[in-house]
């Protein structure tokens, strides 16, 4: 297990280096942030001066060397727009996204897993098709459209819920629904297919031969096995959520890292953009690692291998 973790950490480090390099050069391709910081009619003199102030006047190679050097010390530069260390900006906003994600995940699981089980039990039946359609609907609706519609219906027309911003529990409902909807389908699909696979397996037959009740067979023997693939996809889903947060946070004025990312692109805030993508990658990788470890605890085949 230790060696497994160590190997994963090594792979992760290599991945992060790759991502960092790609991001650095791609970021530099996207134009000069100075143009977005100055008024449209700023003079060339002003522009040159600001470029120098921001340290963007060196060659790309020089800038990269400096970037790598600083990164090794945990310094990913200062946000050009917000003038605060990019790492700090990221961690300022991270909690706001992290309070959103578990709820979305929970929503996806609470609805998706039972739906998946029910669909598997009624395979090919009306319930299966109904559950499938409902779940696929979750993927089929573009989340920004859903968000805008939800605001329109529940906030503007019915006046039940606030339309945006962080705040009390009622502020969480619409963003969580918007963010979590596509997960319902994901969880439902995987649970269903895993259940189908498990339900056809011999050990389920043996459990029945033992004379166990249907409830025990389904919810203990089947589901426990079916949850293994569900858990593997946790990592992927959390990754999706972190990306999906870009749209959701923009629609709901949620000050999390999703919007920070979007703003970093819009304002060509190189250091921030680099930092955000690198830190996000680290975050996603860590979550995946945690999931792998969890996975090992659920599945003895891995734990004891």
């Amino acid at each position: 297990m230790k060696r497994f973790i160590a190997r994963r950490l090594m792979q992760g480090a290599v991945l992060i280096c790759m991502v960092a390099t790609i991001v650095f050069f791609l970021g530099r391709l996207t134009g000069n942030p100075v143009d977005l910081m100055l008024p449209e009619d700023a003079t060339a003199e002003d522009r040159a001066a600001l470029t120098k102030t921001l340290g963007l006047d060196g060659s790309l190679g020089d800038q990269f060397v400096i970037f790598v050097g600083n990164a090794l010390h945990g310094d990913l530069g200062r946000s050009i727009r917000m003038k605060q260390p990019a790492v700090e900006a990221f961690f300022d906003r991270l909690p706001n996204t992290l309070v959103l994600i578990p709820w979305a995940l929970l929503l996806g699981m609470i609805l998706g897993i039972p739906l998946g089980v029910v669909a598997a039990l009624n395979r090919g039946g009306l319930l299966d098709r109904a559950a499938g359609t409902v779940a696929v609907l979750g993927v089929a609706v573009p989340s920004f459209w859903l968000g805008v519609l939800l605001i329109f219906v529940f906030s503007v027309e019915l006046g039940w819920l606030p339309s945006g911003r962080m705040g009390g529990p009622e502020h969480f409902i619409l963003p969580v629904v918007t963010l979590g909807t596509f997960l319902v389908a994901g969880f439902m699909r995987i649970t269903r297919s895993a259940m189908l696979e498990v339900m056809e397996s011999e050990f389920v037959k043996l459990a029945r031969i033992k004379g166990l009740s249907e409830g025990v067979v389904i919810w203990k023997h089947c589901l426990r096995n079916a949850l293994i693939p569900v858990l593997t996809l946790w990592g992927v889903f959390v990754g999706n959520l972190i990306t999906g947060a870009i749209v959701t946070e923009t629609v709901f004025a949620w000050p999390g890292i999703g919007r920070l990312t979007y703003e970093a692109v819009i304002y060509r805030d190189f250091p921030l953009l680099q930092a955000v993508i690198i830190l996000k990658s680290i975050l996603i990788l860590s979550i995946n690692l945690v999931v792998d470890i969890l996975y090992a605890y659920v599945d003895p085949r891995i734990r004891l291998a």
Binding site: G31, D41, L50, M82, R93, V251
Partner: protein, 546 residues
């Protein structure tokens, strides 16, 4: 004794004010929630925010050396009550309004003014005009607590305008003693200004909170107790928040206006905040010689093909107007504005028949192919819409338009260097409302400038040379009338060249929930409400009239 007199006078005045308007001054209550699409750098250190429009949140807590003309827009008194230029044109003297204090209780004096301007010019400044200030300002001299002299290297007629928030944010006055005591870092965390709103909290990516000063303020004592400026990037969410009352006011684009009105919201439009223009690149260059856009009449025909009334009516939902000549407005300094208004109404009319006729006469009876770059800053969807609309209108007179959309960030680099990507193209963008024409004209037309739309150093022909002459004369001219004549001449040269052509004069738009705020007016030409917050009444109060 002589020094005491003004203070006593001020005290009496202030008491009188408090007595005269007790209903207005007594209670400050409620929170004014203002939702905007961007908070820019979201920093409260004035030297760290370069884009004037983004500094809306700074305007609440900082006063500017030069202020507004609330009547018609443009420059008016601010921290300095008045200012004058020495006869040699090299020294501006600013007379500071007495009795101003910072939120920490310190008095605002000439030392703060000198400190603030020098900080804006300093090495750590990201201010847009930092470089030009360094070049033009020789020294700043504090004559006494209420008098400051700015010595310039050459005559700078536009200096006070440049220190007015009507033009740029560089005039913000910061507390010298406080910053020197606590240091820059601490100042950024706990900023102190002299405006009618005190800083409370800055939550990055979400909001900035202020609370009203309780004493009278020359800009007006706020009617609300608190002010929250919310960052809500998605426009439909902003409008939804105004509808539900989560926000009192939100900035909106023209495309949302109709919906906001139908939803029972008040829409406030601020006149003269910008001009949508289109322009032709490198028309004077040898390689463009054979291109249709090298011909003045063709360029004019393209203007005639634009139905500006339709754009105003349908794209801008009626909340826009026929433009003045390029980058000029009703409030532009030293301009015969009325005369130009009349001229523009005629010149910028819609006459597709004439447009077709001109095209035929110039040898393009079947039109020609035109490459058209449309640029938009984040949050200006209507610019894309206007571009789409005029491309369609050009198509109707037979021009085959290839439209390409750029984000501002990818367009700006194309202007630089040899402009290879743009020569022979038409492009379109938005220019902000500013009271000083010459500055903007310099950036667009001088052969050394970035855009150099009349000619570059190698190809500076008649109009270009004439422009350079006029512009130089204008810079040195101190006499008001002569200056106006020169400005008119400069504008004339540019209008007759038809290389930069205004489409419409646009406005700033706000959706307002009248249950949350009373009636108020914005300052013409000022897209941001930063200097208006303190004047916004509560719903039950009397509307604010200018």
């Amino acid at each position: 004794m002589a020094r005491l007199m003004p203070r006593v006078a001020t005290l009496v005045l202030l008491l009188g004010f408090a007595w005269a308007a007790p209903a207005n001054a007594q209670d400050q209550k409620g929170t004014l929630v203002f939702a905007v699409e961007t908070l820019g750098a979201q920093t409260l250190d004035p030297i760290l925010e370069g884009r004037p429009g983004n500094a809306v949140y700074q305007a609440a807590m900082y006063d500017s050396l030069v202020g507004f003309n609330l009547e018609k827009g443009g420059v008016g008194p601010g921290v300095a009550e008045r200012w004058e230029l020495a006869p040699d044109g090299l020294t501006w003297t600013f007379h500071i309004r007495p009795g101003q204090t910072f939120h920490n209780g310190d008095k605002l004096t000439g030392h703060d003014v000198k400190f603030s301007l020098e900080r804006q010019m300093g090495p750590g400044s990201l201010a847009a005009a930092a470089a030009s200030m360094r070049r033009t300002i020789k020294s700043i001299e504090v004559v006494d607590d209420l008098t400051v002299k700015v010595h310039t290297t050459s005559p700078q007629i536009g200096l006070p305008a440049g220190l007015s928030r009507a033009v740029a944010p560089e005039g913000a006055i910061m507390p010298k003693a406080y910053i020197e005591k606590v240091g820059e870092e601490e100042f950024r965390k706990k900023p102190v200004g002299s405006g009618p709103w005190k800083f409370v909290r800055n939550v990055p990516g979400d909001r900035i909170e202020f609370t009203a000063v309780t004493t009278p303020h020359w800009r007006g004592r706020p009617n609300f107790k608190d002010l929250t400026i919310l960052l809500v990037p998605e426009e439909s969410t902003r409008v939804a928040m105004v509808r539900t009352g989560e926000a009192s006011i939100a900035s909106i684009g023209p495309e949302t206006m109709l919906g906001a009105t139908r939803a029972g919201l008040e829409v406030l439009s601020v006149p003269g905040t910008m001009q949508a223009i289109f322009q032709f690149w490198g028309t004077y260059k040898p390689e463009v010689k054979d291109s249709p856009i090298a011909k003045v009449r063709v360029r004019q025909a393209l203007s005639l093909a634009i139905d500006r009334k339709q754009v105003i009516e349908h794209v801008m939902n009626g909340k826009a107007q026929m433009p003045y000549p390029f980058s000029t407005f009703a409030y532009t300094d030293y301009l015969s504005a009325d005369r130009w208004k009349k001229w523009a109404d005629e010149a910028y009319r819609y006459d597709p028949a004439l447009a077709r006729k001109i095209l035929a006469e110039e040898g393009y009876p079947n039109g020609f192919e035109l490459k058209f770059a449309n640029t938009a800053l984040p949050g200006t969807q209507f610019m894309v819409d206007i571009g789409t609309a005029i491309a369609d209108m050009w198509t109707k007179v037979g021009v085959k338009v290839t439209i390409k959309h750029y984000e501002w960030g990818s367009f700006a680099p194309m202007e630089r260097g040899d402009q290879a990507g743009l020569v022979g193209w038409a492009s379109m963008y938005r220019t902000a409302g500013r009271p000083d024409a010459p500055w903007r004209y310099d950036g667009a037309f001088s052969p050394e400038s970035t855009q150099r739309l009349l000619g570059d150093k190698e190809n500076c022909q008649e109009t270009c040379q004439e422009f350079v002459k006029t512009y130089r004369a204008l810079l040195a001219e101190l006499d008001r009338e002569k200056r106006t004549a020169l400005t008119d001449r400069m504008v004339e040269l540019v209008t007759n060249a038809w290389t930069v052509i205004p489409i419409i004069e646009g406005m700033g738009y706000y959706a307002i929930n009248t249950k949350k705020v009373g009636q108020f007016q914005a300052i013409a030409g000022r897209h941001e409400l930063g200097d208006v917050f303190e004047r916004i009444p509560r719903p039950e109060q009397k509307p604010w009239k200018k």
